[in-house]
């Protein structure tokens, strides 16, 4: 089985959110339903120099996250109906909207906030890796729309061979929890997962 996954370059990402919007457009998502979310992570403090003067070390960077189509997804394990399932073919984690009962337990379990409840359809929805586009040989819409070319998609083995295995960058959780199919490139200011010096700044957006 090939496992498809994402590569996110936090050094290139400027937080423009084109990926988020193109995804909303492609999948007709309503306000409040975001299959891709751009988390703005920032912090900083005043540091005292040896001569008694002060200097700030303010930082901020963006992590564009949809669903990481984890190797051990917390959502599929939680799902009481099996509607949330991992496809044999490409390892994408997809919800079957005809089976889902809308209990929102996957939402409680997924530490990436990927499952999104659709208040009108009354079922869970989420990033499906644009599998219909991928089957036509295209890339997911978020990848193609990124003006900074900060996102990539493909077999995770190839992405890891190319970019390494980093997936523990704040504000993402410890990757050992779900084994996400995700490779991150750290920006200059990137902090490790579990960092408490910064915080997610755009909480009302994500």
């Amino acid at each position: 089985m090939t496992q498809l996954g994402f590569y996110v370059d936090t050094a290139k990402c400027t937080g423009c959110k084109t990926c988020q919007l193109s995804c909303k457009d492609e999948n007709n998502l309503k306000v409040g339903v975001n299959w891709r979310r751009v988390y703005e992570y920032g912090g900083g403090d005043w540091m005292q120099n040896a001569d008694g003067t002060y200097e700030q070390n303010v930082f901020a960077y963006y992590t564009s996250i949809s669903c990481n189509h984890c190797a051990q997804p917390a959502c599929t394990k939680a799902c009481p109906t099996g509607a949330m399932h991992k496809r044999e073919k490409d390892g994408l984690v997809v919800v079957d909207g005809d089976v889902c009962v809308g209990c929102r337990y996957c939402e409680m379990a997924c530490p990436y906030g990927a499952p999104q409840f659709d208040a009108e359809k009354k079922v869970m929805t989420k990033c499906d890796g644009c599998y219909d586009r991928v089957e036509q040989g295209k890339m997911p819409i978020c990848i193609e729309s990124c003006p900074l070319r900060a996102l990539e998609f493909g077999p995770i083995d190839e992405l890891r061979a190319k970019y390494g295995t980093e997936a523990d960058i704040a504000p993402l959780p410890d990757s050992s929890l779900t084994l996400p199919s995700l490779v991150m490139k750290a920006s200059r200011y990137a902090k490790p997962s579990g960092d408490r010096t910064g915080r997610i700044i755009n909480t009302r957006e994500v």
Binding site: G82, G102, R104, Y105, A109, P111, F117, L177, R199, I200
Partner: protein, 282 residues
């Protein structure tokens, strides 16, 4: 908060299991036939309460008409599927027992079914706690979740059982008075466990590594915790003190106590659901 139906379901289901366990224990050691019939009838209340809690849980589903789909999750032992199945099996076992005693079916097997229902009740308490001990949610992923959920069964179940017995004090006579005193003693011990356990839980909560202070998430949490403790201790205390002093038949007071402890547990559960937070803060 969209989890409000779950607040009602979990508290009511746990309280109902507690009530059932007390009544079932009384039935197990009982030898008087007319008393047995009366206690058996009381179990119908358990079924009604369980039905109400189940209905509350259904309102949380986006697609309640598809609820049967939760059986599919048993294949991969989804904690939620196991919880829902335990609820159904527990309800089914209590119903079977009530039906058997009502229609006089297989009298020798009745106690066995009752014992089975008791086992399923305990299993249900653990199954509900298991739903919330998620590895990705640090504030929930501990034995304190199990502790709190089991304590709700005691805290609500004991005064509720005393209330049910008091409504039949004329028929039950001295038996009811003795049972009431015994339950009050048990209630007193439970208050002691709560008095030690809840502050320890809050201490533990304060040192969990989280992106935000779990004790300062919402403005109303301070008053909610205070209300919970006040409701719990006043509710439980009124009944326990008066019962140990010899007033064992006043229905109104125990009804008041039961409602207060129920409200206390609802406050506690709202606080619990509010704590849902990932270690990452995402």
């Amino acid at each position: 908060m969209h989890e409000l139906p779950l607040v009602f379901f979990t508290v009511l289901a746990q309280g109902t299991v507690g009530l059932f366990l007390v009544l079932a224990c009384l039935l197990m050691v009982n030898s008087d036939n007319s008393r047995q019939q009366l206690l058996n009838k009381m179990l119908m209340v358990v079924l009604v309460l369980l039905g109400i809690s189940g209905a509350a849980a259904m309102t949380h589903l986006g697609q309640p008409l598809r609820a049967i789909n939760v059986v599919f999750g048993l294949e991969h032992l989804s904690a939620l599927s196991v919880e829902i199945m335990s609820t159904s099996l527990f309800g089914g076992a209590v119903f079977t027992y009530v039906a058997m005693t009502h229609f006089g079916i297989l009298p020798k097997l009745q106690k066995l079914v009752l014992a089975g229902a008791m086992g399923l009740g305990v299993l249900l308490l653990l199954a509900i706690a298991n739903v919330y001990t998620l590895a990705t949610v640090p504030a929930w992923n501990s034995g304190w979740t199990v502790f709190q959920f089991v304590m709700t069964a005691f805290v609500v179940g004991i005064p509720a059982a005393a209330l049910m017995l008091r409504t039949q004090s004329v028929l039950l006579g001295a038996y009811q008075k003795n049972a009431d005193r015994a339950l009050a003693t048990l209630g007193f011990l439970v208050m002691g466990v709560v008095l030690v356990g809840y502050p320890l839980y809050l201490f533990w909560l304060g040192q969990v590594d989280l992106p935000a202070n779990p004790l300062g998430l919402f403005e109303y949490h301070g008053s909610l915790m205070l209300a919970r403790l006040a409701l719990l201790f006043v509710g439980m205390g009124l009944w326990v003190i008066s019962a140990t002093r010899g007033s064992n038949a006043v229905v109104g007071l125990t009804a008041f106590s039961t409602i207060m402890v129920l409200m206390a547990e609802l406050c506690g559960r709202i606080f619990f659901y509010d704590l849902h937070m990932f270690a990452s803060g995402m």
